[in-house]
Amino acid sequence: MLSKKQARAFFLGGTAVTFLIFIGLTIYSFSKAQDQSNEGNITEAVVRGKKIWEDNNCMGCHTILGEGAYYAPELTKVIERRGEGYIKAVLMTPVDWAPNGRKMVAYGFTQEEAEDLIAFFDWIDDIDLNGFDTVVSPLAKDEN
């Protein structure tokens, strides 16, 4: 029968081994040859766009890369679905945008801010998502 000492060795050993593998896989997946995160194309506008995205907690309603709050649409591939003009209108409008009655806060972004956010979405769209883009991208495309 398993002793307490053996049980402790199982816990400590198992944890150490899996954690080392985890660190190894992390390094592997961000190594140059294996990286698919579109890192090379991050521009200053993309970084500014990401900051606006975070400062306004857009993830608190929307999802991006499938992560967020499921109250508003997924924004991966949004440019492909909606086009830049539509997105700019939503971002810059001074009144609540409310398609089908569900309201979005009227952020009233400036032209530059809207362009930075679009640069951010554009950068997102070129990430290799292991097929997730094929699930979300045709969504409204058929409607347009």
């Binding site: 816990f11 944890t15 995160s37 890369l65 967020g68 997924e74 569900r102 292991n130 979300v136």
Partner: protein, 446 residues
């Protein structure tokens, strides 16, 4: 209660209950917004309600864990806490940081990173607060007469939870890396080190409530937390399938996260078996309900429902939908909320001296909240599956699909009302116990 300083726990539990109550209010705001009743939109838009709802959950659970540690560690280490004064300083600063963060969320002061919305400046205060907490706990343990496995596992969980908060503070320009390391905090907390905390509390409660030999319980505790880490660390990969990192995570995440339910199954079987085995039944039946309930419901919510959408083939469709909300609600409820309610139910009569072990109100609270939460989970699940089919199979527009699932949110609100009624009854029970007192000190050891 055996040591006077254990009374500190009461105030952490009281803060915990206060924040829990507030969390439910924001949950209702979101539920109503989903059915189109968003009258508060101008003051509390959805993203504010969401950040407050999830952050309050984290803070009330942490406050509950800290209270649990302040109660358990003196008894396990067989000495008073090294400083009660500092423990109160830590409590007040925790409350202040929490309140500042929540007020900030109403003023657009946050970092919109799911579940880690606390702005960077406040992050540093959180770190100081947690260091103070760990300082008190670890010094007490170090100076104590004995170092039990239960105390070590609990403290290790708390220490690692603090360390793992740090990767979430590294700034990244890439959304992918940001997300990747955010999961180091969130996943490795809830599917890793928090389970050590849960395991530690569970072990303490089982020792007290069943009378089974400590050596037996603690041996199995090691096995369970061992299984948790063996599956949970590499199981982090299930968050990495579709966020822009290498395909290797589809395989690694798929295999190891499929094993995660085993740890929860082991925990449920362990708790039930220890209860069966125990000959010395403690009269605090309510604490036993919550303890066994936590072990069983965490298997259902975290284990089974997590498994339901953890395989990459399924997750491709369910990723980023209400299916996640289904799993998250029952998982957090079973694994963490219930274990906090269990330790409160056990320790409250000991701290206040009022042995309300078998109140009808307490039993109704247990059943109503559980039935309500299971109903909510089903409502989220149905809404989620319908959303997946409409949006991702039939290519319907997001809002068209949302309109179709509105009815499930009405069911959700009804079940949430049932749940809240149960929780209010629990609060009343908490209040009826009165304040902690030195008169409740006992000399008998058990």
């Amino acid at each position: 209660m055996k040591y006077k300083s254990q009374k500190v726990a009461y105030w952490f539990f009281a803060l915990s209950m206060l924040l829990f109550g507030l969390q439910l209010v924001y949950g209702f705001i979101m539920g109503f917004a989903h059915v189109g009743l968003d009258g508060l939109h101008n003051i509390i838009p959805f993203n504010t309600a969401r950040a407050v709802h999830t952050n309050l959950l984290i803070v009330w659970l942490l406050s509950g864990f800290m209270g649990a540690a302040y109660y358990i560690i003196p008894e396990e280490a067989q000495r008073e806490l090294v400083s009660v004064k500092l423990a109160y300083v830590q409590l007040i600063s925790l409350a202040l940081v929490g309140v500042a963060a929540i007020v900030g969320y109403h003023l657009n002061y946050w970092e919109g990173r799911k579940l880690l919305e606390i702005p960077r400046e406040l992050d540093y205060l959180v770190v100081v607060n947690v260091l103070l907490f760990l300082g008190i706990i670890l010094t007490t343990l170090f100076k104590g007469k004995r170092r039990t496995t239960t105390a070590l596992v609990l403290s290790m969980g708390l220490l690692f939870a603090a360390l793992l908060y740090l990767p979430g503070m590294i700034p990244f320009d890439s959304q992918v890396k940001d997300s990747f390391f955010r999961w180091w905090v969130v996943h490795l907390w809830v599917e890793g080190v928090w389970e050590l905390i849960m395991g530690g509390i569970l072990s303490f409660l089982l020792i007290k409530l069943t009378g089974v030999d400590r050596e037996v319980i603690e041996k199995w505790l090691y096995v369970i937390v061992g299984l948790t880490f063996l599956s949970g660390v590499l199981g982090t990969g299930h968050h990495y399938y579709y966020i822009g990192v290498n395909k290797i995570w589809l395989i690694v995440g798929g295999i190891f996260s499929a094993l995660e339910p085993l740890a929860f199954l082991a925990m449920a079987l362990f708790a039930v078996n220890m209860y069966r085995k125990g000959e010395k039944k403690h009269p605090n039946k309510l604490a036993l309900y919550w303890t066994l309930g936590a072990a069983i419901v965490s298997f259902l919510g975290a284990g089974l429902l997590g498994f339901a959408h953890t395989l990459p083939q399924t997750n491709l469709y369910t990723h980023g939908t209400l299916v996640t909300a289904m799993h998250a609600h029952l998982a957090f409820w079973g694994a963490y909320a219930m274990i906090v309610l269990a330790i409160i139910s056990y320790s409250l009569p000991n701290m206040t001296g009022r042995k309300l072990y078998e109140s009808t109100r307490g039993r109704i609270a247990f059943w109503l909240s559980n039935i309500g939460m299971i109903g909510m989970t089903v409502a989220f699940g149905v809404a989620g599956v319908v959303q997946v089919y409409m949006e991702r199979k039939f290519k319907m527009e997001f809002m068209q699909a949302q309109k179709e699932v509105e009815v499930h949110f009405i069911v959700l609100i009804l079940c949430a009302t049932l749940f809240t009624t149960g929780i209010i009854l629990y609060f009343i029970d908490f209040y009826k116990h009165g304040r902690p007192t030195d008169e409740a000190l006992e000399t008998l050891s058990n």
